[in-house]
Symmetry: C2
Subunit: 364 residues, 2 copies
C-alpha cells in the first residue's frame, strides 16, 4: 500500500488506507488517534494493528487545518551567545514538549526587530508566538492578535498596555543593586548599558538610578554595552581610563560583567573587589565558575518559563483569558566580585543573598 | 470578509476570498504567490492589492500538503548548556532561514536517544531531520529514509555505512593533541572522557591513544566526564588526588577542560601550565576569555553548518544525491594552559596554532 520510490516525493499512508485494511470507517480511525472515549478496545486494537502494518502516522499538518491548531509555538530569539537564552530555550522546549507542543525557531539578529520575519512566522500558522529578546512593532502585534495568534513577550515588555509578557523584576533588581553597593560603602558608580532600545535595559537602568538617587548618591557614569562582549570591554576601558575611575560597576548582563572583569584584571591590573566591585545580571552558569564568582541579580529561568507556558496554554484553551504582564521576582546573589555590606546578607537555598535591611527607604 | 471573533478559533482569509475580491480565478491567485513567470503585472497588482485589503497570507501548511514540502527542517539537539550547540543552532538557523527554511526544534535529554521523539517529529512532516548530539537507532533512521525524510547527523556519525553526517575530524584532533603534548615534554597523560556512547568521544579518545602509542608513550589514565561540568570536576579530583598525578590532561570538550582547570587551580593549588597542562576540544567562546586562555582543538562551526546545509539542500533537490559522511578538518589553537613545544607553533588567521612538524610519524 505504501509507495516508496526514491525518485519521487513520498506518498504518505493515509487514514483511508488504514480504514480499508482494518475494515472500519475512516472516521473510526480518526477517533482512535484522537483518543476518543467512545472507541472500543476491539476497534482500537484493529486500527492500531493495521496502522503498524502500513507504517501509518497521523498527519499533524493535515489535522491542523481541520482543528485550526498546529501544536506549533513560534519562538523568535536572538542572543544565543548569551548563556541566558540557551537556558531559556532548553527549559521552554522541554516544558512545551511535555504538553505536546513543538517550537518553530526563528533566530533574529541582535537589532532585535522581529517584524521582517513576521510574514514567515504567520504563514506557518503557529498557535502562538513567543518573542524572547526581540521586539515587535505595535502594528504587527495587533495583526497577530487579530489573526488569532496570541503574542507573548519574554524578557521584554510591550508598549501596548496589558499585553502578555513575562519578565524578571528588572526595575527592582536595578534598585537592589544600587542599595547593595551603597551599603557596601562605594561612592563612584558606573553603569554598562545593554541594548538601548530594550525594555530590560531601560528598567534595570531606571531602577539603578532611582536607587542611587533615593540614597542621595550622584547619578552613575554610563557607557553603552549592547549586551555584547566587545562593546562591554570597550566601555570598561573608557570607565577605567578616567582620572576618577568608578569604584563600583553595574553591568546589565553577566556576559558584560565578565567582559568588564577581565579588562579590569588583565588590562588595568586591578584587584576585584579590593579596588573595584562589579555586579552583573541574569546569574547564568558562568557566574558561578570559580574564576569569576560574580555577584549577580538572578532571574529565575524556570519560573519565568513556567509562567510563559501558562500564559500560552491559557490563551490557547480560552481566548477570554486576559493577556497580562507577569513579573517574576529575582534576588541578588552575592559572590566574590563585590565588597560586602555589614548587614543584609542571608543564606537562601545554599546561596548568599542580599536583602535590603531597612524598608524605610521605600517610604510609608 | 475576515471573521475575527475572539471566542472562536480564527477563520483564515483564503485564496478564494482574494480571488473573489480581485475578480480573478483562485488558480491565478496561487500563481501570483508562487511567483509564476506567466503572471502579468496587471494581474499581480490586482491580486496583491486584494490580498493586502483582506490581510491574506499564503498558508504554508496547506501548500505543504500539495507540494509535499513543508519548508521545515526538524532539528533534534541536546546539550544547550555547552556553548558549542547554541553557536551551532544560531548559525544553522540563519543559514536555513536564508534559504526559506525554518527549524522545528526538538530538545532531547542528555542520554541522547532521539527515538522517543521520532513519532512526534515524523507527524510534522519535516522535509529533513538533523540530529545534533543525539543518536538514532538504525531502525528509526531507516524508517525516516523510507518515508522520504533525509536524516543528517551533526557532530555524530551513524553506524550505518555511508549515512549523511558532518563531523569535525575528531580522530585527527585527538591524535594532534597527543603529538603536541609529547612534543611539549609531558610524560604522564590523562583523558577526561565525554559521553561514552557518543561517536565524538570514541574518535577523540581513539586518536589520542593512537597518537600516544605511536610515540612510544604509555596509555593515558582515564576518567569519565559525560560532557558535563560536575562529572569532569569529579574526574579531575580523582586524577589529581593520585600519588602519581598526570602532568597533562586532555578533556574531550572545553566545558570539561574548564571544569578541570578550576579544580586544579582552586582545589589543588596547581599552577597551570607550570605544574599541569590542560587541553580542551571545540574552541567555544569561553576558551578565549582571559581567565582561561584554554588550548583547544577548534571545530569550525561555520564550515560544519555550511556542509550540513549543503547536504540537506542536495537531498531535498534531488533524492539521487548520495548521503555521505563529511569530515571538516580542525586545528589545535595554542593558548596559555599548556607548556609549549620548541617547534611547530605557527600563526594562522591571528591564532597561534600547532602543526605536527614531522610527517614521518605517520609512516610512508
Amino acid at each position: 500500500m505504501t509507495v516508496k520510490r526514491p525518485d519521487s516525493p513520498k506518498r504518505r499512508v493515509t487514514s483511508t488506507d488504514v480504514a480499508a485494511l482494518a475494515n472500519v470507517s475512516q472516521s473510526a480511525v480518526s477517533r482512535v488517534f484522537a483518543h476518543h472515549p467512545s472507541v472500543s478496545d476491539k476497534m482500537r486494537r484493529a486500527v492500531l494493528e493495521a496502522a503498524r502494518t502500513l507504517g501509518y502516522r497521523p498527519n499533524a499538518i493535515a489535522r491542523s487545518l481541520i482543528t485550526q491548531r498546529s501544536r506549533i509555538i513560534g519562538v523568535a530569539m536572538a542572543y544565543l551567545d548569551n548563556q541566558f537564552y540557551p537556558e531559556v530555550l532548553q527549559s521552554l522546549s522541554r516544558a512545551l514538549q511535555a504538553y505536546g507542543y513543538q517550537i518553530l525557531l526563528f533566530t533574529a539578529d541582535e537589532t532585535g526587530a522581529a517584524d521582517p520575519m513576521l510574514e514567515q512566522v504567520l504563514s506557518y500558522q503557529v498557535d502562538a508566538l513567543l518573542l524572547a529578546s526581540v521586539s515587535l512593532s505595535s502594528h504587527i502585534a495587533e495583526e497577530c492578535e487579530l489573526a488569532g495568534i496570541p503574542v507573548i513577550m519574554f524578557n521584554r515588555t510591550s508598549s501596548t498596555p496589558g499585553a502578555a509578557s513575562v519578565t524578571g523584576d528588572n526595575f527592582a533588581g536595578g534598585r537592589q543593586v544600587a542599595e547593595f553597593l551603597v551599603a557596601g560603602g562605594h561612592q563612584r558608580f558606573a553603569y554598562i548599558a545593554g541594548a538601548a532600545e530594550s525594555s530590560t535595559n531601560r528598567d534595570r537602568e531606571a531602577g539603578f538610578c532611582a536607587g542611587l538617587a533615593a540614597l542621595g548618591m550622584a547619578q552613575p557614569m554610563r557607557v553603552p554595552g549592547q549586551y555584547d562582549w566587545q562593546s562591554a570591554q570597550a566601555g570598561t576601558r573608557l570607565l577605567l581610563g578616567r582620572p576618577t575611575r568608578p569604584d563600583a560597576i553595574f553591568a546589565a548582563s553577566d556576559l558584560m560583567a565578565i567582559a568588564c572583569l577581565e579588562v579590569a584584571r588583565t588590562e588595568f591590573g586591578l584587584s576585584v573587589p579590593h579596588d573595584l566591585s562589579i555586579v552583573g545580571f541574569d546569574d547564568v552558569g558562568v557566574a558561578r565558575w570559580p574564576s569569576y564568582q560574580l555577584t549577580s541579580f538572578a532571574q529565575p529561568v524556570e519560573a519565568m518559563v513556567s509562567a510563559a507556558v501558562t500564559l500560552i496554554l491559557e490563551r490557547l484553551e480560552s481566548l477570554a483569558a486576559p493577556p497580562r504582564p507577569i513579573v517574576i521576582p529575582g534576588r541578588l546573589i552575592v559572590r566574590q566580585t563585590t565588597r560586602h555590606p555589614a548587614q543584609g546578607l542571608v543564606v537562601e537555598d545554599g546561596e548568599r543573598v542580599w536583602r535590603t535591611p531597612s524598608e524605610t527607604t521605600e517610604g510609608p
